[in-house]
């Protein structure tokens, strides 16, 4: 899939300011940037929750705006910070919603399989969402996104509301799923460490533009320019401070 000269304006405010970029099949791309840098807006233009003011977004060679929105979205898994489990559906019904909308019913065996993929007890299918912890809910959110065998997985700050331990564990689960299922994943995050550890490729956004497009290794080697390096310096300095602390020195 690719972005071609994509722009998005809200009145006088420019959220996305001319983005050109291709995403290869099988890659795990992280979109990193400060709040308001336009990364979420760019992501949502893929499944048409936002529409470009100019330019176009191609998915499997087709302009997404020419496709029926509901049908397009069923081909794309979507996980976001708000999770958005339907509170009146049981966990199993939440997972099966995509296929149900397409007129198919997801077999219980497949629901159990999906729950196991996200490391949950298959028995949970009968529980209601409000009986689950935040981390369990987002695991269900991931299972729901994967239920329709999507060609693309979009994640918008997927672990933003979770505690650090849950966050770390779920990040690893998602990365493993990406590899074993051969997914194509784009993840928005403001946490550079998370991006560096999970993604194959990191796009850094600032004021609506992509200011860096590097592999994690290259960013750690100092490439990508000043804005990208400012973001990389945060986890790096934290790691250095922790190392000094461990060796008996003062953190600063």
């Amino acid at each position: 899939m690719s972005f071609e000269q994509v722009e998005r304006h809200y009145g006088n405010v420019v959220a996305v300011d001319g983005v050109d970029c291709d995403v290869q099949r099988g890659s795990f791309v992280a979109l990193v940037g400060a709040s308001g840098s336009g990364k979420s807006t760019l992501l949502k233009m893929v499944n048409t929750l936002e529409t470009p003011s100019a330019g176009r977004v191609l998915f499997a060679g087709e302009n997404v705006e020419d496709m029926r929105a509901a049908r397009l979205r069923r081909r794309i898994g979507y996980v976001f910070q708000g999770i958005g489990l339907f509170p009146h559906f049981a966990v199993g019904e939440n997972i099966a919603i995509g296929p149900r909308l397409a007129g198919e019913s997801l077999p219980a065996k497949r629901i159990a399989e999906l729950l196991e993929l996200v490391e949950l007890d298959p028995e949970m299918a009968r529980r209601m969402p409000d009986e689950l912890s935040g981390g369990q809910r987002q695991r269900v959110g991931v299972a729901r996104a994967l239920a329709g065998d999507p060609e693309l997985l979009l994640m918008d700050e997927p672990f933003g509301a979770l505690d650090p331990i849950t966050r770390d564990a779920l990040g690893e689960t998602v990365r493993e799923l990406h590899d074993t299922l051969g997914l194509n994943t784009i993840m928005v995050t403001h946490d550079m460490a998370e991006a560096l550890l999970l993604a194959d490729r990191v796009l850094v956004m600032d004021a609506g533009k992509v200011v860096a497009d590097e592999k994690p290794r290259e960013l750690l080697d100092g490439k990508g320019g000043e804005i990208a390096q400012n973001l990389v310096s945060v986890p790096r300095q934290q790691a250095e401070k922790l190392a000094r602390l461990k060796n008996g020195g003062a953190p600063t």
Binding site: L49, L72, G84, H88, G98
Partner: protein, 515 residues
């Protein structure tokens, strides 16, 4: 106060009519409010306009809203033809449905606005179409709040539906209005108990449905919905199961004499083998139109009322000429048949307490003119708008300090307590004699005559049996007998009679077989 239970048992037909009216109004309100709420959730402007309109409607007093539908429907006859009913069920339904709109709409719009934005984003994200999103997510999540709105609307509507009596729709307001006019508090209480009880039951059942939606408990809302459906269903069966198409409908205005004469007429017709329905407590302006459209079949009206309100005349050609003109006019213009005069007059007459009259040395309206600026005049709500009030004022140059409106019943109490010095009373009113009031002379004949007449709707104008049954009443009742009957109903001591009892006594007094 005894006999409330008995009265309650006799309210079955009013109860059924009340249930059907309230349920229909809420159903119509829902039919309008729900699509409007969906639309409002997609457009801020629609939400603002719809809620603004519904709130505006709510500020109109229910009684006025009901009354307003009469002229509205009357003007709509130009579009829908003469068969469009202007009284009864249709205007009551429309007014109450408008009233039910606000709580349903407001709750539905609020519920939509308060849905978790994450859930709505997820609905879009998983690929729901607009319709799927509404059906699978928005509607089920908003349902408990919408149910709460329907509950509020139901309680309001059941209460407000009692006012439908005034526009000719039978309801539990019938006993309340009749009781208020005849000071029969058991009747008022029975109407209130029945309507409040109905509201409580509806509230409890809809509350069950609401909790069922909130807890996603099919059993709870199933039982609630079933009970409501059974209640409305049995009211429908009761209302339309019996065949009383041919019943003769007797209408009466909201005062004791109207109720008594309606019973007197009704009992004679029942003896002659007719089925009779009473439509009590109609607004004065509405009775004539209802009769002309055959919504009611028989009414007792007064020459002076028809002269001023219907013929819109303010001259005074004298008693006989006025009557003849009305008979002729009705035959030519409305098809109403004036069967004849009952024999007594119920004219407006100015009355004072005798001690006050002595004190002011007032025996006629002429004597009143110099002292009027220190006096308060009381009248029924219609009185101060009527041409005879203007006529009297102009003829005698009367300028009162203050003019106050009272319901006819309370007008006499006001005179007794001194809140009014002189009242526009009615000449057949029993309380004139009972309170030993002085009726002021009218030497310049400013007040027109008010002969009571039996009037028949075009539908039964030529019904031989009805005419034969009622002819013995023509010219049979003199004012003394009418006063006595009226007083029997209006008095508050042990001698108090119901309108039916008073009607039988009156029949006896004028030499007709009682039953």
């Amino acid at each position: 106060m005894n006999g409330i239970g008995e009265i309650l048992l006799g309210l079955d037909d009013k109860f059924a009519a009340h249930v059907i009216l309230a349920a229909s109004a809420i159903a119509l309100g829902l039919l309008v409010a729900l699509p409007l709420a969906v639309w409002a959730s997609r457009s801020v402007n629609v939400a603002r306009i719809a809620l603004g309109f519904a709130s505006l409607v709510q500020t109109i007093p229910a009684l006025a809203l009901l009354a307003l539908f009469f002229p509205i429907l009357l003007s709509l006859r130009a579009v829908f033809g003469e068969d469009l009913p202007t009284l009864g069920f249709l205007p009551a339904l429309l007014a109450l449905a408008l009233y039910a709109l606000l709580p349903i709409l407001r709750n539905a719009v609020t519920a939509q606005a308060n849905l978790d934005p994450g859930v709505l984003e997820a609905a879009d994200g998983v690929g729901m179409t607009g319709w799927q999103k509404l059906r699978l997510v928005e509607a089920p999540l908003a349902a408990p709040f919408i149910m709460a709105g329907i509950r509020t609307a139901s309680v309001w509507t059941i209460g407000a539906a009692t006012l439908a009596t005034t526009i000719g729709q039978p309801s539990l307001g019938d006993p309340i209005f009749a009781g208020l006019q005849t000071q029969n508090w058991a009747l008022v209480l029975a109407g209130c108990i029945a309507s409040a009880g109905l509201a409580l039951v509806a509230d409890a059942l809809l509350g069950l449905v609401e909790r069922g939606f909130a807890n996603r408990n099919r059993w709870q809302y199933g039982v609630g919905v079933l009970a409501v459906a059974l209640g409305v269903g049995s009211a429908l069966v009761y209302q339309f199961g019996g065949d009383d198409e041919d019943a003769v409908v007797i209408g009466s205005k909201q005062f004791s004499e109207g109720y008594i004469l309606a019973r007197l007429i009704g009992e004679r017709l029942e003896n002659a083998g007719y089925q009779v329905e009473y439509r009590d407590g109609l607004g004065s302006a509405i009775v004539h139109s209802a009769l002309a459209s055959s919504d009611i079949d028989i009414s007792v009206d007064y020459t002076g009322t028809i002269w001023a309100n219907t013929l819109e005349r303010s001259d005074n050609p004298g008693r006989e000429a006025m009557y003849e003109t009305i008979v002729e006019w009705e035959r030519e213009n409305t098809g109403i048949r004036v069967l004849g005069k009952l024999g007594f007059e119920n004219a407006y007459a100015f009355a004072m307490r005798s001690d006050r009259a002595r004190e002011l040395n007032a025996a006629s309206l002429e004597d009143l003119a110099p002292v009027a600026p220190q006096l308060t005049v009381g009248g029924d709500p219609e009185f101060f708008e009527r041409p005879e009030w203007y006529a009297v004022r102009e003829t005698y140059g009367l300028r009162f300090d203050e003019a106050r409106s009272f319901s006819p019943t309370f007008m006499y109490n006001a005179l007794r307590s001194g809140e009014a010095d002189v009242i526009g009373a009615y000449s057949s009113d029993g309380r004139i004699a009972a309170d030993r009031l002085v009726v002021l002379d009218d030497p310049r004949e400013a007040l027109p005559s008010y002969d009571a007449m039996i009037m028949l709707s075009p539908r039964i104008a030529d019904e031989e049996g009805v005419v034969a049954a009622l002819e013995p009443l023509i010219g049979a009742i003199d004012v003394e007998e009418m006063r006595e009957a009226n007083y029997a109903v209006d008095r508050e001591d042990a001698g108090k009679l119901t309108p039916t009892q008073a009607a039988r006594k009156l029949a006896d007094a004028i030499g007709l077989p009682a039953s």
